[in-house]
């Protein structure tokens, strides 16, 4: 049975790449995590457990927020599976760092076209979102055809002097 790991690995490549070191199964992959987070948000609304789905780094920003309003805005900006009203296609790639990037095309809540880009990192044995970018499109012809990370799509920002 020495070829068994290889046989398991090859089909997995088509889905999320071959995650040997983190022992992540396709069923725990980025797209599944997106769907599980969506179910959590739909079911629990504002009391959803964000800590299960976003990284400790992002949760620290929430803890450090100056006001309840700011915390609410962090959560609203991070409820990424709700931004698209209808998901049409999704793509996943695995980075050398062990992170994953998920890109999802679809119709936004406003009825326009867009894509959401999420970078996931393995944390506590599961994938958690660590960067999120929403991109509005004028037409479906702008839909992405391969996975891209948020850092590949967003413009760089100025930092205060």
């Amino acid at each position: 049975m020495r070829f068994l790991p290889l046989l398991v690995c090859i089909p997995a490549l088509f889905l999320v790449g071959c995650a040997t070191t983190e022992s992540l199964q396709a069923s725990d992959g980025p797209w599944r995590r997106y769907q599980d987070f969506e179910a959590e948000l739909v079911q629990k609304g504002t009391s959803a457990d964000f800590g299960r789905f976003v990284s400790a780094r992002l949760m620290r920003m929430l803890d450090d927020a100056a006001s309840e309003q700011e915390r609410a805005e962090f959560r609203a900006s991070g409820a990424f599976p709700l931004w698209l009203a209808e998901e049409r296609s999704n793509f996943v790639k695995r980075l050398d760092s062990g992170h994953f990037c998920l890109s999802v095309n679809g119709l936004t809540q406003g009825g326009g076209h867009g894509a959401v880009f999420v970078e996931y990192l393995p944390e506590g044995g599961v994938l958690k979102a660590d960067a999120i970018h929403y991109q509005y499109f004028d037409s479906p012809s702008q839909y992405v055809t391969e996975a891209k990370c948020p850092s590949e799509v967003e413009l760089s920002f100025a930092t205060p002097e």
Binding site: F74, G78, G110, G112, I132, Y134, Y136, F157, E161
Partner: protein
């Protein structure tokens, strides 16, 4: 901010309002920058300090009154603009909001936005304190709505 993530229209209107503020600070330089063929960059940092810069020069102004309107969690804005021979500004913008960033692209009709003192930027500069719904509507039109 009416929804969790600003709409394309809210983002585009914010870009127009930032150009207004730049115009109010230095009308001559703003007009020169957005009329000259080439690249122009509009950047706002976490403290609300904004700059409009291009080949013709550089303007610094405060954008905190505009970023407050779109939401307290707007941390930064970058707009890369390209002005072509037909005086159309094509732009790509990213807004850093809370945990995420939001991107939109589009085009601005320069002549509709700024021509003379009958132009929208000049009117807006005068009326900014008591701005009207009609003015927002006209700005949206210049931004392609």
């Amino acid at each position: 901010m009416s929804g969790p993530v600003p709409t394309p229209m809210e983002l585009k209107l914010t870009i127009a309002k930032l150009l207004e503020l730049s115009y109010r600070k230095d009308s001559g330089m703003t007009a020169q920058l957005i009329r000259q063929v080439g690249q122009v960059k509009l950047a706002v940092d976490a403290n609300g300090n904004a700059t409009l810069s291009g080949k013709a020069g550089h303007i610094a102004f405060s954008a905190s009154e505009v970023t407050r309107q779109i939401g307290a969690s707007v941390k930064a804005i970058t707009v890369l603009m390209s002005v072509d021979e037909e005086r159309l500004i094509r732009y790509n913008a990213s807004f850093k909001i809370g945990w995420a960033s939001v991107g939109v692209s589009g085009s601005i009709d320069v002549e509709k936005l700024i021509t003379s003192c009958s132009g929208l930027l000049c009117q807006t500069a005068r009326l900014l304190q008591g701005r009207s719904v009609e003015l927002d509507r006209q700005l949206q039109e210049a931004m392609g709505y």
